[in-house]
């Protein structure tokens, strides 16, 4: 039995975008309502996935498979093939929640070219979901690149003063990474053909053959993929596009950028780099370098955050620091690290998404993000101040909130692997507390110093609504993270197992399997056994 829930989730926003095309441009409220209805529908439709997935959380392999390999473009072996495991499940839920929240938060923020804005946003939503669902490399790549276009336009049209520069920089940087990745994908594709005798882009199929690539070649492939993902994450020193993009993007764009787009890089590491090149990632030198870059990212991002005068830039650099934790967790290569990393990706989506919303709310009222312009805001906006405090604490990793669980698990994993790594990463937590609390103190505490801030009104019900799901999630993960660990247990163990099995075999298995002319039917059969 094939369930079509993934396709339904994937294409709801696309349908929304299509419907929006027929709403008259002048009727802005109708456009807003339509877009919000579809965004909410996109979220609600994804909810049934939760119990369905929960029921099979311990089953191995990809679930909710849709389509078969090679059914889309048989001539080149690409298929419309969807499926998820625990890792992509969590990220998909994050995407649907944040997509809805971002669209809800744009109600008053976007006043010009409203229709286009929502059309692009919904298209972006489909693109992001597709990246997390695709089980076919060709399909994955199409979503991965197609998604850049709406983001580029969101920054370029509705962005701040330097929007053109930021939009082009964003596009060029991420494209540089992805074209190199394309070459890597093509190599895997041909390697699969040499080993098995048939062409396919099916990811579960490639899982089987990719680890056989000899080390000397695999390291180049790893680099090609690494650059693609590292730019997306972004890891130090590939991060320079991020502050520009974040500062110029509209609030909702920043939320999605930080909440979901950056996760594609880390998702790529977990989904592709680790299982495809187990021998390379577990090579001490490679691992050492990647972890070194992660640690530099953690410390550097935090230190630069401390120095920022612009709130949004501060949050942007804090992302560099937080994502450093995520990559650290991935590359310590044990189950605690990888689990913590995925969990931290979700946490970062929740907390940083909320932080960008928070900055956006102040910006919408005052049209400045300079920290010096504010002070004593808690007197005029008490509810806003409270919510901000919760989200700040969550972001800095205070126990009982979500950030703590993720960071703790990552540090635990790092400590097991090498205590020095954990020791270098730990100051990141302290610095996070420093830059966030200092920011809070400067903006919220004290008396209102700037007369312009005296008349600010507190949150509207719509704005409160945008925070509710985030706060619920933050508390849930913080207080009772067990379900999340259970969801992640199976896929993470499988990845760690792959690495463990392959890293011992220093002489990699050469392609000794005779190229057998396999009938196309075997492709479908083989794809089911994706474990």
């Amino acid at each position: 039995m094939q369930s079509h829930i993934l396709s339904i989730i994937l294409f709801t926003p696309l349908v929304g975008a299509f419907v929006l095309l027929f709403v008259p441009k002048e009727n802005k409220d109708a456009i807003r309502w339509t877009a919000n209805i579809f965004a909410l529908a996109g979220f609600l439709i994804s909810l049934p996935l939760v119990p369905m997935f929960w029921a099979q959380r311990f089953l191995p392999g990809f679930k909710f498979l849709e389509g078969t390999p090679n059914n889309w473009i048989p001539s080149i072996g690409a298929g419309y093939n969807l499926g998820i495991d625990g890792i992509s499940f969590l990220l998909i839920m994050l995407t649907t929640v944040l997509g809805w929240i971002s669209i809800l938060s744009s109600w008053t923020a976007i006043e010009i070219r409203v229709k286009e804005y929502y059309v692009w946003f919904l298209l972006l939503q489909t693109g992001m979901l597709g990246v997390f669902m695709a089980l076919d490399f060709f399909l994955f790549f199409v979503f991965w690149e197609a998604m850049l276009v709406p983001m580029y336009l969101l920054i370029g049209i509705w962005g701040g003063p330097r929007k053109l520069y930021a939009a082009i920089k964003f596009f060029l940087y991420t494209l540089l990474g992805s074209v190199l990745m394309l070459l890597g994908i093509l190599f895997l594709y041909f390697h699969h053909h040499t080993v098995t005798g048939f062409f396919t882009f099916s990811i579960p199929e490639l899982y089987k053959t990719a680890p056989m690539i000899p080390f000397q070649t695999a390291i180049w492939l790893f680099v090609a993929f690494f650059i693609g993902f590292a730019i997306k994450v972004p890891m130090f020193p590939f991060h320079t596009w991020l502050p520009d993009a974040h500062v110029e993007a509209p609030t909702a764009g920043s939320v999605i950028l930080a909440g979901v787009l950056l996760k594609m890089g880390t998702y790529g590491f977990v989904r592709f780099s680790l299982p495809f090149f187990p021998a390379v990632v577990s090579h001490p030198k490679v691992q050492g370098w990647v972890i070194f870059l992660s640690l530099v990212g953690i410390i550097y991002g935090a230190l630069v955050s401390l120095m920022q005068k612009d709130m949004k830039k501060l949050v942007a650099y804090s992302s560099v620091s937080h994502l450093g934790f995520c990559t650290l967790g991935i590359f310590v290569l044990n189950s605690a690290g990888v689990t913590g990393s995925v969990l931290q990706q979700i946490n970062h989506g929740i907390s940083t998404g909320a932080l960008f919303l928070i900055v956006g709310i102040l910006y919408e009222r005052r049209h400045t993000r300079e920290i010096a312009e504010y002070g004593g805001i808690s007197n005029v906006m008490p509810l806003y101040a409270t919510i901000t405090m919760i989200m700040f604490l969550s972001s800095m990793g205070l126990p009982l909130l979500n950030g703590f669980v993720g960071e703790f698990t990552i540090l635990q994993g790092a400590f097991t692997a090498n205590w020095r790594w954990a020791a270098w990463a730990a100051p990141g937590v302290v610095l996070a507390a420093a830059y966030l609390l200092w920011l809070y103190q400067r903006v919220f505490f004290g008396t209102v110093t700037n007369p312009k801030n005296e008349k600010l009104h507190d949150l509207t019900p719509r704005e409160i609504l945008t925070f509710v799901p985030l706060i619920i999630m933050a508390l849930w993960i913080g207080l009772y993270p067990k379900p999340f660990f259970q969801i992640l247990e199976q896929p993470v163990n499988q990845i760690v197992q792959t690495i463990h099995n392959n890293s011992n075999a220093n002489a990699p298995v050469s392609a000794q399997v005779a190229p057998a002319p396999a009938p196309p039917a075997t492709v479908a059969v083989a794809a089911k056994a994706s474990n």
């Binding site: 889309w72 473009i73 048989p74 001539s75 080149i76 790549f141 199409v142 690149e145 197609a146 850049l148 276009v149 580029y152 336009l153 370029g156 049209i157 929007k163 053109l164 939009a167 082009i168 596009f171 060029l172 494209l175 540089l176 074209v179 190199l180 394309l182 070459l183 093509l186 190599f187 041909f190 180049w220």
Partner: protein
């Protein structure tokens, strides 16, 4: 228009006698030829749709324009189907001379006159060199048929100076026609000066014809010499990508920018040719390279004509409309056209799911398959340059305030042209299977004994 459509139908009905020889063995109507005929007709049809209103605006609406256009299509068809160097040359000249006149069709426009003269002089010069090369082949082999030449050449020492001179002069002619660096200087001027509808036509149909000629001669005729010409092609392709991409970065005239971009696209296609030249005949690498070139030409026809169609529609009574600034705020003036232009630009940059990605995909596929990792990396690097200058157009179109606020009037023919091009760009991008099959079909002939015997 009707004539072109009729021809297409006519070809469809003559499909069954595949690969039949005609005109005393000088014409080979095989699937390869038919594929290109469709391309030429498609390109010509869209160009004609673009032209009607444009010529009216330019006050040059004469019937000769369409006659010349169709005459050049006849020349192209000879180029794609000919296997006799005399016929190939006649086809080439028929196409070229018609195009010289078309480039200079705007008699009152000095740019158009200058472009035509420049194109004529350089074109005639290159034709002379090309004819010289062809005559050497006749001298070396004693025949004018490509099959005879191929047989004779395989017996010759490939490093014989006469052979090398003949090869190089032939290649100069071919590379000039496809506008590869360093034989590209005519292209930006001719493209900028020509009537915009003709620029579009030249950049797709004329270029496809030149490619058909190049493939016919180098693959079908001179294949035994591939060890000699492939290194030259490698250098030329690198030079083409480098020169064109760097030059395009600084252009402020959209026609000129797209001219350089079309030269850059030639560079990518040459990469696929390198993959072909370094693989054995009929091997997967060879076939993928071949497919790459054919598919690239197909998608390029639609996306580039679409882009030129939008630029053509900017020409109004009192506006020339080919500067980058004229694009500013196009979104406010013609939202649909601007959105479709964005599609064409992204397709040219090779962003999926637009069709251009498929062309790029096949080229890099063939490169990886034949082991040219460095060339592939260089190619993807230059595709970033491409993205930058296409985004420059997109930026001014979508993100800048318009110079004029009135809505842009778009004629019906133009709407059809843009619509067809956009539809094809999306359909090929999202569901390429039938098109890949079509290309496979057209290459089927390359493996059939008929031509295989010819190549030997």
């Amino acid at each position: 228009m009707l004539f072109a459509a009729l021809c297409t139908w006519q070809i469809q009905s003559t499909l069954p006698p595949r690969g039949s020889l005609g005109f005393y063995n000088s014409l080979l109507v095989d699937r390869f030829a038919i594929y290109f005929w469709y391309l030429f007709l498609g390109g010509a049809a869209i160009s004609i749709l673009m032209s009607a209103h444009y010529l009216d605006v330019e006050d040059e609406d004469h019937g000769e324009y369409y006659a010349l256009l169709l005459l050049s299509v006849v020349g192209m068809m000879c180029m794609a189907a000919g296997i006799d160097i005399v016929l190939l040359f006649i086809g080439l000249e028929l196409m070229a001379i018609s195009t010289y006149v078309l480039v200079g069709f705007l008699r009152r426009d000095r740019r158009s006159n200058e472009a035509a003269l420049k194109y004529l002089l350089l074109g005639a010069f290159s034709s002379g060199i090309f004819a010289y090369g062809l005559s050497l082949w006749y001298g070396l082999s004693g025949g004018t048929n490509l099959a005879v030449i191929a047989r004779a050449v395989s017996a010759l020492n490939p490093h014989n100076p006469v052979v090398v001179i003949a090869l190089l002069t032939t290649m100069v002619g071919l590379l000039f026609k496809i506008a590869a660096v360093p034989f590209h200087q005519w292209a930006p001027d001719a493209y900028e000066g020509a009537p915009t509808s003709i620029t579009g036509f030249m950049s797709v149909a004329v270029k496809a014809a030149a490619w058909a000629l190049l493939l016919r001669i180098l693959v079908f005729g001179l294949w035994p010499l591939r060890s000699v010409y492939t290194p030259v092609i490698v250098i030329v392709s690198i030079a083409t990508m480098t020169g064109a991409n760097f030059a395009a970065l600084t252009q402020t005239n959209t026609k000129r920018l797209l001219a350089y971009s079309s030269i850059a696209h030639v560079g990518y296609m040459l990469l696929a040719f390198v993959a072909m030249g370094t693989s054995a005949l009929g091997s997967p690498g060879f076939l993928d390279g071949f497919k790459g070139i054919l598919i690239y030409l197909l998608v390029y026809t639609f996306m580039n004509l679409g882009a030129f169609a939008v630029i053509t529609s900017l020409r109004q009574r009192n506006v020339i409309g080919d500067e980058l600034d004229d694009m500013a705020g196009l979104y406010q003036r013609a939202p649909l056209e601007a959105a479709l232009m964005l599609l064409f630009l992204l397709s040219l940059a090779g962003i999926p799911p637009a069709a251009g990605f498929l062309g790029k995909y096949y080229i890099f596929l063939s490169l990886i398959e034949s082991g040219h990792y460095a060339l592939a990396s260089l190619g993807v690097l230059y595709s970033l340059f491409g993205l930058y200058y296409y985004l420059k157009i997109a930026n001014s179109m979508l993100m800048r305030a318009p110079m004029e606020t009135e809505r842009l009037p778009v004629s019906l023919g133009m709407r059809c042209a843009v619509g067809v091009a956009a539809l094809a760009t999306i359909v090929i991008g999202v569901y390429p299977e039938p098109f890949i099959r079509g290309v496979n079909w057209s290459l089927g002939i390359a493996q059939s004994p008929h031509v295989a015997a010819m190549i030997k």
